[in-house]
Symmetry: C2
Subunit: 476 residues, 2 copies
């Protein structure tokens, strides 16, 4: 296994030499060719993924389209050039001490290792957000395929490789045992990971043992609290929640796992009825299903008379052998607070706790005790009702949503998909959207450097027309 991994990393590093020297405008063309290739082969890709994930044609074709659109977004990012963050400070001989000419821009860091996710066989897998942002940055990639969809991974890699100038820019290794030698490899310069907290801590431990610890960009889970304020509409909240909870059998990192509702205003009943009308489905793998059943059982054991926790509703089992059912619990705010941090642990799948509060002024103290999340959502008809909790939510989650639902992550310039641990190991960085390229870039400053040796992005006159900050002022 170590030999296979070693060969993939060494081939990627060799292919990366030309790729990092390829102008951004040419890398953009390559990314667009990959997008075209993914769409051209959608008819072969989705059935392979459906056989391995049970996610169905509509969702999988949609995910392939999203994956292709991520490649197109990064083609646009490269043409814009803002990702290099060009900064020019001309010399100032009058300063004390005299200031030299200093110019800075970002460069690709080197081979990136990507651990793909179970729940997005395309968008967070071999050709997913980590891979496309790393390729866009100028970095070669070696992906560890998820064990849940090995054939889809192979097919996707083949499609991407034929559109790359050098197929070795995308390596693919299989199997749990491939992870450690990949993280340890001296030529690997950063790791992207989507998975569990335990898996993330294991990767971090491997990195710490390296002679040169490298950056680790992990997304390790999220409970995505939803705060429903009294002015919200119970029926709209209930139907929207039930749909978001059960989308993709609840297998989203942005699945809403905690909902705070005003007690005695009809929200609990409406949500119970809406969830009872849902149906479950077959989960991605037997391991994920077992994890879900274990999590639900853990919550069920806490429920009962006098505990402040109760079973609220269950959905129907849905089609398919081993299908799971959506499960929703209800808890008083005090009982929920007493049960922290355990009650705020993510239960991956269509399960949630509805937490009933009597006074919304009691919410901030409890919200402050929640673990970091990718998202936090507010439902209210009156924005003023939410003003008091906004400062708490800003420190709790990376994305705040108004009168919507967290499932569904727009791939755009402004998106932030991250948050305090365990939502992200690096809260300053996002794993979705244009800014995710920054994970695979590192700045280099050039001091009194000869103009002829400067990268084009840092030359006077700005021949490539990239956004620059010159002598302290931004120039679009």
């Amino acid at each position: 296994m170590a030999q296979t991994v070693n060969a993939a990393v060494e081939r990627a590093a060799a292919a990366g030499v030309a790729w990092r020297a390829t102008p951004a405008s040419e890398r953009a063309l390559v990314l667009e060719r990959v997008a075209d290739a993914l769409l051209e082969h959608a008819g072969e890709l989705w059935p392979a993924a459906d056989a391995e994930t049970h996610l169905g044609e509509v969702r999988l074709r949609g995910e392939i389209a999203r994956t292709a659109s991520q490649f197109r977004l990064f083609a646009g990012v490269l043409r814009d050039g803002g990702h290099v963050e060009a900064v020019i400070d001309h010399a100032d001989p009058r300063a004390t001490p005299p200031r030299p000419d200093v110019r800075r821009m970002n460069h690709p860091i080197g081979v990136v290792a990507v651990f793909s996710a179970s729940n997005f066989p395309f968008a967070f897998s071999v050709a997913g957000g980590d891979t496309v942002s790393a390729l866009a940055a100028g970095c070669p990639v070696v992906v560890k395929a998820h064990e849940g969809h090995p054939r889809t991974s192979d097919l996707t890699a083949a499609v991407v490789r034929q559109a790359l100038p050098d197929p070795d820019l995308l390596g693919l290794v299989h199997g749990f045992d491939a992870g450690a030698p990949l993280v340890r490899h001296p030529l690997v310069t950063a790791v992207g990971f989507t998975g569990s907290q335990a898996g993330g801590r294991a990767v971090q431990a491997l990195i710490n043992d390296r002679p040169d610890p490298i950056p680790f960009y992990g997304e390790l889970g999220s409970v995505n609290p939803v705060v429903v304020l009294p002015s919200a509409d119970p029926s709209a909240v209930a139907s929207g929640f039930a749909a978001s909870l059960t989308l993709g059998v609840g297998q989203f990192c942005t699945n809403p796992g905690l909902v705070f509702v005003p007690e005695g205003s009809g929200f609990e009943q409406a949500i119970g009825a809406a969830v009872a009308a849902t149906t479950g489905g077959v989960m991605l793998t037997a391991k994920i299903r077992d994890g879900y059943l274990h999590g639900v059982e853990r919550l069920a054991k806490r429920a009962g008379p006098g505990t402040g926790v109760a079973v609220l509703a269950s959905g129907g089992p849905g089609a398919g052998q081993d299908a799971v059912t959506p499960r929703v619990f209800a808890a008083d705010l005090e009982a929920f607070a007493d049960g922290l941090p355990e009650l705020a642990e993510e239960c991956f799948g269509p399960a949630a706790i509805i937490v009933k509060y009597q006074d919304s002024s009691d919410l901030p103290a409890v919200l402050r005790r929640l673990p970091g999340s990718l998202t936090a959502t507010v439902h209210a008809a009156d924005p003023e009702e939410a003003r008091g909790i906004v400062p708490v939510l800003q420190r709790l989650a990376g994305r705040l949503i108004w009168n919507g639902w967290p499932t569904g992550v727009a791939v755009c310039w402004a998106m932030h998909h991250g948050g305090p641990w365990p939502a992200s190991t690096t809260p300053a960085h996002t794993s979705v959207g244009a800014a995710s390229i920054r994970r695979w870039l590192a700045p280099v400053a050039y001091q009194d450097w000869p103009p002829g040796l400067l990268p084009c992005e840092l030359r006077d006159g700005n021949p490539l027309g990239v956004p620059q900050r010159v002598d302290g002022r931004p120039r679009a």
Copy 2:
């Protein structure tokens, strides 16, 4: 000790609530008041620091001025507003799926723990770069004072605190034992550190044991290679090198510890003569002096007939009890390569190895094996001579210097003070210059958020006039 640390962190967190809500323009005024206060008290500060560090009035007054100018730079950063990285993507109902309105900006992360450095009692200490960038970001700070200058730390903290709107925004704790409870404290959200590799690994281990591992921004050492190419002028190189090597008794993270010179072109002799004319001095602490003597002894033991390593020159001892002398060794390129990685270990102080090469085309293979550095320097009259090694240097160091010397780090917008490990634990981030504020910020995205609850920086019409990227296009 844990109680003292706990109290400092809790007071800082409480003071931070109002500080993070303070408009950037008002924070800028506060930073300028701190700058004024530091300069006003320079006459008390420098003698305290001189008594503890032996660095002398000229250097220390200069360092206080630099420290004040760092506060002024960040006042300018706050007035510019680019640090919040405002991005607005308006809703696109025609997109598939329809895209919501998404807006993103950076917010302060919370209490920052700072481990101050031995070698800059002002500029990398209580009121140093980590502290000012964190305060500018809107974060309160708790500093662990360096054991080498406790009284200077107390005096500096008092000066800064009287200029802050709430003195608790800057906490100060003393002693080695304060480090662990500070890093473990649940309210601490990030750690800045300047020190040794062993110290940095110890802090990282403490962070990994937290229930919620937090970001670690460490600067852990650097050998700062200098590549002298055949067209350079031996006498200019020799005099510049000797001055840079011995500045501040060599106690700079940017001290030039490795110099590659063409064999037989007079560089070795010129450097030997220049170093022989230097004088040493008293180092910061007995521990640092012992470390230097140990490092020099380690190199001396490798020297001798047939080893390819020789003692090249020593300076004079300089004034003061326990003063150390500059020491320079010479090595053949092959012997140096054989001695890696040990021969590239930093020896903190005025020591260096002059590595003699016969053919500059042999350099890239050796340079690729060096550990990451804060800087890499090239000396040449003809830029074309350097073209082949630039791609290697871009991956070796965070700042590339032409015909200059690495000691002296300009505090400006374009500066990057970082590099691959061990120069930095986070190669995407800098600890000097305007971009260092990014370490203490985390993005929050707002989806379909009510305009009245949006931060001013993200509102349509841009009432604060900050740089924004709107619908994919930068607007200065």
